[in-house]
Amino acid sequence: MQEDRVGEKRPRDAGTGLGDAGEPGVSLEPCRLEIDGKPVDARAGESILTAARRAGIDIPAMCADPRMKPTGDCELCNVVLDGQADLVKACMTLAEAGMTVRTENSELKALRKDRLNTYLADHNAYCQPPCTAACPAGIDIAGYIDLILQKDYAGSTALIKTMLPLPGVLGRVCPRPCEDPCRRIQIDGTPVAICALKRFAADQAAEAGLPTQPEPKPATGKRVAVVGAGPTGLSAAYYLALEGHKVTLFESERKAGGMLRFGIPPYRLPNSVLDQEIDDILSLGVELKTNQTMGRDYQLDTLKDRGFDAVYLSIGAMAAKPTGIPGDDAEGVMSAIKFLADVNWNETVDVGKRVIVIGGGFTAVDAVRTARRVGASEVTMMYRRTRKEMSAAAHEIHECDAEGIKLELLTAPVSVKVENGRVVGLTSRRMELGDLDDSGRRRPVPIPGSEYFTPADTILMAIGQDVDVASLNEGDLGLDERWGTIEVDESTMMTNLPGVFSGGDCVTGAATVVEGVGAGRLGAFAINAYLNGADDAGIAAAIFQHKPKFFDIGAKAASAAPMNDMPVLDGEGRLAAFENSRHGGDVDHDEAFKEVEVGFSEEVALREAGRCLMCLCQAAGVCTLQSLSIEYGAGTTAYLGKDAWK
């Protein structure tokens, strides 16, 4: 007799498990009820919650676990049962034939939100770090800070480099959008010094000479031309090379670096740091061709004929915006960008004693501070709004004060006064703030009759930059006529020309270094997908950026500990060095151009890293508390006693 003849009579009922539900107390007697207007078949003896879940109706519940007896403690599964005055708990109420259940109404919503807020008051943690979400490069910030705490500085730098190949550079010059939403602000008013810690890790790894870059993947045999070796192009080249592609960087200047090299002065970013990180990228087998200008030395449309399978345009936004004020063509008036470049290329620059810089952004700040270092003693920064609206970083504006730079706020230029073809001063006008403009800032409005004159030897214009589209000699390349930028399909980063991608300032208009580096990395992923034969959807998937949903829950910490200040060169020493200025000429060896920010010591760095709240949760995305809090709009800082979290 064989085993498969078990139950030869083919029991239809007993034995198949259909005769009973397999759980004590639950029978298979069908019972039909109505939940949210939908008929639902339940088994007699099971709860409304179980029946609803099987029917695909989601009743919120936090404590109902099929492995345990229900208690209803979380109170989220309360529902309205027709004919019953009080709410009932769906997990503990057995389904009965003819019941009519409603799972959502305004009362239930309010009740659930209230319950969730009670939970959140005890939940002193956060799902996904707001800093990482705010970082245009998406760096795992909590991750690298954690590695710093473990004193694994090379590991920390390697982790940063998975998203950003220039950690030493960005650790010095990044405008730090990550620090604004830092939850540490809720505890002691200051964020974690995320950027300074990045610099610390990178400097430590570089000093120790430890490897921080992975081995590139095996060569694919594909070739990519990257046009423009600024932060975006360098970043694209790095990630393309890691994927195994052969990259050639075309750079119109003598050296790679773009704005990093001639837009940022060496007292903020020493050339040695920049050179080292560029060398690291080139060490992956990236070929750099300098003094190669597109339209002059080669053409966009001939790159394909030269064996390149894809092209990445990252030419930046290098042309200074014209000011349009009378007299701006006089000798002694120049763009701040040109001025900074000249100094950085070690040209001797004589700006005289009195310099006015017009603008309130990074370039303006760089220009005034550089002007001090090439011998100007009376340097004025003129900005038409207030300190608050300046886009330069607060700590840099603070350094301007330390270096004896005068800020003329709420002031706008009217005309340049010219004598014998040379500038002698500037007529300006006072402003006041009016209504909000498109950028969300209050619009400056001239005060009639407030014009006044300031004598000056040199006037530097730092009011923004445009893409130098003329230099492109672009042919068929599609441009955005309104902004004068290169036009791309945002989801794929591809231009109208197949295989030609673009990103960074030349697409977005002048933006920050970190945005450019982020665009370079995504561009590399887009090109890699393209080279692997992906269609538009595939390319879009390769560069899709998941943005987590946030909600506001407040923070507390074991102890208060405000941010550690970045140590800087002593102000008097600096001023003394300015006195001995050699008017540029050799910035790498000029005491006046010595790096101002000294960097954290290990002790300070570890203390600072310890301030990080590690807003990073393994359960993010699958956490019931998170999803329900977002759904019901819960989130509270009420227990903090004030509205601390903006």
Partner: protein
Amino acid sequence: MNVTLELKESEPVDPGLAPPLVSWPFFQLEFEKCIKCMQCVRICDEVQHREVYTVGESGYPVLVSGTNDFRDTECNNCGQCVGACPTGALKDLSDTGVLPKNLRQKTTTICGYCGVGCAIELETEMGKVVAVNPSLASDANIGNLCVKGRFGMDFIHHPDRLTQPLMRRGGKDSPLEPASWDEAIAFTAKRLNEVKAKHGASALAGLTSARATNEDNFVFQKMTRCAFGTNNIDHCARLCHMASAVALKKAVGSSAPSASSPDVRMATAFIVCGTNTTVTHPVISSQVFKAKYESGAKVVVIDPRRIEMVDHADVWLRPKNGTNVAVLNGLAHIIWKAGLANDAFIEARTENWQAYIENLEKYTPEYVEEVSGVPKDRLREAALIYGKASRGMLLWGMGITQHLTGVDGALAMANLSLLSGHVGRPGTGFIPLRGQSNVQGCSDMQGQHNNLPGYHDIKNPEDREKFEKAWGVPMPEDEYLTLIEMEEGASEGNIKAMYIMGENPMGSSPDIKEVEHGLKKLEFLVVQDLFLSETAALADVVFPAASFAEKDGTFTNTERRVQLVRKAVEPPGEARADWEIICDVSTAMGYPMSYPGAAEIMEEIASLVPSYAGIRHERLGGSGLQWPCFDTEHPGTRFLYAENFPTASGKGLFHVVNQDDAGEDAADDRYPLNLNTGRLLEHYHTGTMSRRSRGLAHMRPEGEVEVNPEDARRYDLEDGCMGRIVTKRGSVDVKVFVTDKTPEGAIFYPFHFAEAPANRLTSATFDKASQTPAYKRTAARIGRIQKQ
């Protein structure tokens, strides 16, 4: 920004900011994310029934030890609390992923460890398994998992994994060198064919694997019969439950467990005999707890060791090792004499009652106490619990089978079930708990006692014809050899070549010195495995196989539940699914086999095995299907024998069994102790997988021999000292663990540790009817190793 919250270093720490509770390297509880919902406390208490958590004064969960280390409590790292936590407060430290969980790929599949067949969800990222979640998909585990299932999967990506075929090009003494698949397969086929030509097909033998899928096993036995041309095929069920299979076949007509997990949850009385369930089948034990603590079921434990289940027992019987039959007959005697025998059931559904009770007469409580040492009052209490129950359930394991009288023990269990009529109804029955993920399916596919798939009789002309027609070759006519006989045959020179798939007899078979001798004598040995096991190291060709996470297929668990194993990641390097390798070897040997995928193999199985006739991969979502499943509409069968038994008469057969202490390597003056072998919670089989899991290896880095405090005094041993266990077969040096878990006169040593293998000590004596080795009793002595 102004600061209103002022905290100073000296202030007492807010309990929500206290340091975490750590169960290194498995999980930790981080208070800042805790919302005091107490789900962790509850699941540990209400499902696992362990004293780990309590609620602290602050309202947060704390450990009963008052410390921050779970090691100070009863915690055994099952991680159920991690699965129950609605937030991220309980953090899985074994999670190696970087993406947020909702962005990872997830694959629902079946755990590759024991025979419970828990549904799990593998989270993968960049082609790697980075975390394991419990899955609510299956009734087998309803979301419960143990430490191996949740934290023991890192062996999948262990650097020791074999990634390319290896072979000895220059004969036995040459090294194992990497080879291409083409070369290794051609070489294997050529050598196997040479042995076959020279010594005949019966000189070949195959060992298949209870850890491979049904599809792998089906294809393997097909190769053995069609390409090798021999019936010499067996697998490790021989070493564990063959005694149960033989006994059940005799008593109720089928070797299969009769009941299911839902029946376990519904039962009102249990006899748990010779199974350390919380260790070997933790998720089944939690379902016994559910029946006990939620519905008031009573639990009788019969075990010489003070196992954990004893803490949950209403009655614990602690017989002398090897007196199972007397105790079980004693229980039957009391039930019968108390008038609790189910007369209607006996009358309608059984045979041989009269002969049975005549023999039972002498098993009075007094006699049983004398033989087994179990007090008669205790015995009576236990008998009444089972006899009076409305739904009785029997669970047993190796404590019944691994004796010289293994079949008798299992028959005595079956007798109890028939006597009380506790079979064929919801919540009743018996489950010999299967040890490996697919040991049931492996038996179904390849059979035992010379059966074709689906237990077709190879001596029955009709059955032979069915398979000859399907496979196009005559079925072999040679007498089969069992695993033990194959090993002996290799030593004696009758077996010349072996093909071993996913099996490690160099760790699992008794008396491995002899096994090694035999395997080394073979002219040709092929081993197919995930790792270079002790057995693979002796092979002439080693094929790298895909793990359960890297292939599709099915496992049949200990409740006959056929469940879908799904591919979550690619195999490492050039490793391939077992069935693919076998098809290529068979084809190269001259019997072509090829299938587009595992689903098509299942279709062939369904066409030949009536109890699998309705099983198709696409039908196996959710809880899978329990065989018999006769057609593609059939819902499967949760429990067997509702109406009849598949015996010749359709009735259950009582068997007269007697306590027969066959001596089985009995203790004497030189070897005064009984060595008992078994398993640990953290490890599995010979440890090839579990010892390559960081967490499991951390918990149990080495084997320890359990010694009763009395014996420890007698033999000058103390906790933590090194001892040497000596038997007639050999000796091993191990750390001593002094505990009253093991009774006086007996020592217990687990068999997972290759560097000090338990089976260097055991003897190849076995139950005559089933050839299951008597691992549970080896005469031994133990002495302290003096420090140099």
